[in-house]
Symmetry: C2
Subunit: 161 residues, 2 copies
């Protein structure tokens, strides 16, 4: 596992109510999404709410995927958090948007475990990191080179706010 992780927060709008309603259907699609992301599944759990709605999560070798559905409004909240280079979390989102028949989807990509100027780890929208890199090329290695947990001196401070 790498310390710098990607955490995608995804809102799916206008999904098929039928696709969001039943625990077995949602479970099948989340497992398929994990496969689309090339992730390694350690464990899964899915819960059927009454009268409707499903919550589910997979613990991954790379971190996790979760989904919470509101069939009555066609809304699903998904998050996928991955560490390392192997997983392709955006593929999971693209898969789910199609499989759940979303009319629209919104993805916010957060970088987790980024060192700020004060030595704290923080979470930062990746767009802010890209903006920082645009201002200072020396920061590019922060997201281009995977960071090793044990190599603490390789962390570079990323200015946030």
């Amino acid at each position: 596992m790498k310390t710098l992780g990607k955490h995608l927060l995804c809102e799916l709008t206008g999904c098929s109510s039928a696709k969001l309603s039943g625990v077995e259907g949602v479970k099948k699609e989340i497992y398929a999404a994990a496969a689309a992301a090339n992730a390694t599944i350690l464990h899964g759990y899915f819960h059927q709410f009454a009268p409707t709605g499903v919550s589910g999560m997979l613990c991954l070798a790379e971190s996790h995927i979760s989904i919470h559905t509101w069939p009555e409004t066609g809304y699903a909240a998904v998050d996928i958090y991955t560490c390392g280079d192997k997983a392709m979390p955006h593929n999971a989102i693209e898969y789910l948007a199609q499989a759940l028949e979303a009319e629209q989807h919104h993805v916010l990509e957060m970088s987790r475990g980024v060192h700020d100027d004060g030595g704290r780890y923080v979470s930062v929208p990746v767009e802010k990191i890209h903006a920082a890199i645009a201002d200072d090329d020396s920061l590019a290695e922060v997201i281009q080179r995977p960071l090793k947990p044990r190599a603490k001196t390789k962390y570079k401070a990323v200015p946030v706010d």
Copy 2:
């Protein structure tokens, strides 16, 4: 469950390596954190990585909590996503920061399932919503009044970017 959820992304810095290393210890503290948040636990799963590190997650009636630890750098990434008024997710973070002996912690609170001007659901940092409310008092009900999933017409658009 309410459609508008709170999702706290929390980075813990300078934690006790011993506290982050073992699956049993991490599991105990996450269960205690869920209790501190007044959350209802549906299921839990925790995984011990080799040589070190733990991933764990609880599926909650209110949504979920997850943790991923890197004992070698004293870093833990936590997220807690809750819907409804009953849960107090910030209490879980305060509890964990103390229990894992974090020197510092950083919390980003995201609002999930917010309607934007185009009718999409999006996720928005809560600070942006507060800024929008400061500009327009009529938006206050967006976060002050819990939204009912079936009452679609009660959603108000929040300007984002």
